[in-house]
């Protein structure tokens, strides 16, 4: 087990810069998720840690050892790929034993290690099968087994669950998390799925265009997104964003939009006339009785079972509310919604940065 320290790392493909001066330090035993839309450089970063992608400049250290020029096999890492990348012509046993066979470990040790990994991953009955005879989830487990038999210092996962169906994905998510709790190996996990990131990570690293937008614990990132990008990327349905201008009304700050004025909590770090974006998560927009709140016309109602998603229009702005209680609502009707004032997020319209960063 080891920490991973990435300092001022850069990656260019010719004139194209993929990652431009990124710093990240991952503590020993942490489960870190790199999250971001496709093309944000998260997979490239992972592949640079693995040694599969050369580094343009900067430094990557695993433990105390700078690994910039080390061959992948000398970094003592293990990687699980999106498409499993199993050796199709080898049995499950041989797939897992391959790395130890290459190191010419004694047969007894190989058998014992593979047996141990197989029992953790419930693969014992399948050791003599070939990958093509296994289901998607089992293949994924073989890929993980191949990784854990080696006792690596760092686990690297590159979108390992995106080829699985939804139900299996939830199950494997739990299995990977359990595995980490059991082995406590430093893990770097790449995904574009925010639910995976939220549920599995000790620390989420949100990336865009080769830069880190925010690093934090899942709930901190959710509750205090550092900027507009993070706020809109994390959370589903996405956060409501209302453009407006700060004004003073009856001794209190409000945000005036085209249609309405939204009260701000006391002590908000704003100045009058400031152009801001008023963000409120759908679940913090609750229905209230007539005469209060924001009147909005319902356009679509989506019951999901535990929740009801209500999409409504506010003049030209679409907003969304998530209700946890059953409620008779139908499209076309007017619903009154009230934001929970302590749950609002304010962002600067120009920079997109969060305005009360210091307080969070």
């Amino acid at each position: 087990m080891a920490s991973v320290t990435i300092s001022n790392i850069k990656k260019d493909y010719g004139a194209l810069s993929i990652i431009d001066g990124l710093d990240l330090s991952i503590e020993d035993g942490q489960f870190v998720v790199l999250l971001g839309p496709s093309g944000c450089g998260k997979s490239t970063l992972l592949r640079m840690i693995a040694g599969l992608e050369p580094i343009t400049s900067g430094e990557i250290a695993i433990g105390d050892r700078v690994v910039n020029t080390l061959h992948p096999k000398d970094r003592n890492i293990a990687m699980v790929f999106q498409n499993y990348a199993l050796y199709a012509h080898m049995t499950v046993f041989d797939n897992m034993a391959f790395s130890m066979q290459l190191k010419k470990r004694p047969n007894e040790e190989i058998k014992q290690k593979v047996g141990w990994a197989a029992s953790i991953l419930n693969l014992t009955p399948y050791l003599e099968r070939y990958p093509r005879q296994l289901s998607g989830g089992q293949r994924q487990r073989v890929a993980m087994g191949r990784a854990i038999v080696r006792d690596p210092t760092v686990f690297l996962f590159d979108e390992p669950l995106s080829n699985l169906d939804a139900k299996l994905r939830v199950q494997m998510r739990t299995e990977i998390k359990e595995l980490h709790q059991r082995l406590k190996t430093t893990t770097v996990y790449v995904t574009h799925d925010q639910i995976e990131a939220m549920t599995m990570a000790d620390v989420i690293v949100i990336m865009r265009d080769g830069r880190i937008e925010q690093i934090g614990r899942p709930l901190d990132v959710y509750d205090h997104p550092a900027n507009l990008f993070v706020a809109s990327f994390i959370g589903s349905p996405a956060m409501n964003m209302l453009h407006g201008e700060v004004a003073s009304e009856r001794d209190a700050w409000v945000v005036r939009t085209d249609e309405l004025s939204l009260p701000l909590p006391p002590g908000a770090a704003v100045r009058p006339g400031q152009k801001v974006i008023y963000g409120i998560r759908p679940e913090h927009l609750r229905p209230v009785a007539n005469g209060r709140g924001i009147p909005a016309r319902i356009t679509v109602v989506e019951p999901t079972g535990p929740e009801i998603h209500i999409f409504a229009s506010l003049g030209n702005t679409a907003i969304c509310s998530v209700l946890h209680d059953r409620m008779e609502v139908s499209p076309g009707a007017v619903i009154h919604l009230e934001p929970a004032p302590e749950r609002i997020h304010l962002f600067d319209q120009g920079s997109g940065e969060r305005l009360d960063k210091g307080r969070s």
Binding site: G51, L52, K73, I77, A85, Y87, H89, L102, R146
Partner: protein, 299 residues
């Protein structure tokens, strides 16, 4: 889409018809090889069944029995005049020559082509696209255009009329196709498999030899079949580059003599020549079907 019973029948009938059209020449060839001379040249029309099958054509071509001896068995006029002697229709050496050259050139082609194809599939180097086009361009030229220079070069190098010479030439002609074909099979193996092996501690060579190569077995088998068949049936270069070594196609051409065309021997040797290719294909067939469809199927 469900097809009706009538459609199914129509499709089957059509399939049988098409197969029959393709099979007929081969069947006729095989049939002629067991006909006596008189049945091959019956003036009243094609003979399908009305003859007594005879192994004589095979005995002459495959067992080296002299046609004179066969004539004597039948109490012919030549009895007592000439006995035995080597038959110029004895083709056993030709079958051996062809086998050595076909197996040799297939092995050499595969050895070079797998290595080249793996590099072209996995590694980046400048001029890669031009190099690929250059490989393909080797097929643009008809073999007749290179025959004369090769004859002179081989004479100077001492390669004329040698197994090595013909193996080299057949390999050269097969290489472009083999490289391009195998490259497409290597391309079908995800790069991540190589990367997983590299992380597992394999060197480049171990990755190639122990991981990727076994995964393209089907492609190698398919390529091997094509190379083998080409070499087995190649006529032009074999004719020009050899004198004492006679591959089967060249040997068959000598059965057309100034006095007669020995259809019986031609069909017997021709039918026999199909068999090695057939056996070879049967051996690799298990991989062949998978190999030919590997690229189009997603896991």
């Amino acid at each position: 889409m469900e097809s009706s019973r009538a459609q199914t029948i129509a499709r089957d009938v059509l399939a049988i018809l098409v197969v029959a059209i393709f099979m007929f020449p081969i069947a006729w060839w095989a049939l002629s090889s067991i006909k006596p001379y008189s049945a091959i040249f019956d003036r009243s029309g094609p003979v399908y069944t009305g003859f007594t099958p005879t192994p004589d054509n095979y005995r002459v071509t495959l067992l080296g029995v002299s046609r004179v001896d066969i004539g004597m068995e039948q109490g012919g006029e030549a009895a007592g005049v000439i006995k035995g002697g080597a038959s110029s229709y004895d083709s056993r050496q030709s079958l051996l020559d062809s086998a050595i050259i076909a197996v040799g050139s297939t092995a050499l082609t595969l050895l070079l082509a797998t290595l080249a194809a793996y590099c072209l599939s996995r590694m980046q180097f400048s001029g890669q696209q031009s190099f690929l086009f250059w490989i393909l361009s080797q097929r643009f030229m008809p073999p007749i255009a290179i025959v004369i220079p090769i004859v002179f070069m081989f004479r100077d190098l001492g390669l004329r009329d040698t197994y090595t010479g013909l193996i080299l030439v057949h390999s050269l002609i097969n290489l472009p196709l083999a490289v391009l074909l195998l490259k497409s099979f290597f391309d079908d193996v995800p790069r991540e498999v190589d990367e997983a092996a590299l992380i597992d501690g394999a060197t480049r060579w171990q990755t190639f030899r122990r991981v990727v190569l076994p995964m393209v077995k089907g492609g190698i088998a398919a390529t091997a079949v094509l190379c083998f068949i080409f070499s087995w049936t190649e006529f032009l270069l074999s004719l020009f580059l050899t004198t004492s070594i006679r591959t089967v196609p060249v040997k068959i051409s000598t059965f057309v003599t100034s006095t007669a065309t020995e259809w019986g021997y031609i069909t017997a040797l021709g039918t026999s020549a199909i068999i090695p290719s057939f056996i070879f294909i049967l051996l690799v067939q298990r991989h062949l079907v998978r190999g030919l469809t590997l690229g189009s199927l997603k896991e």
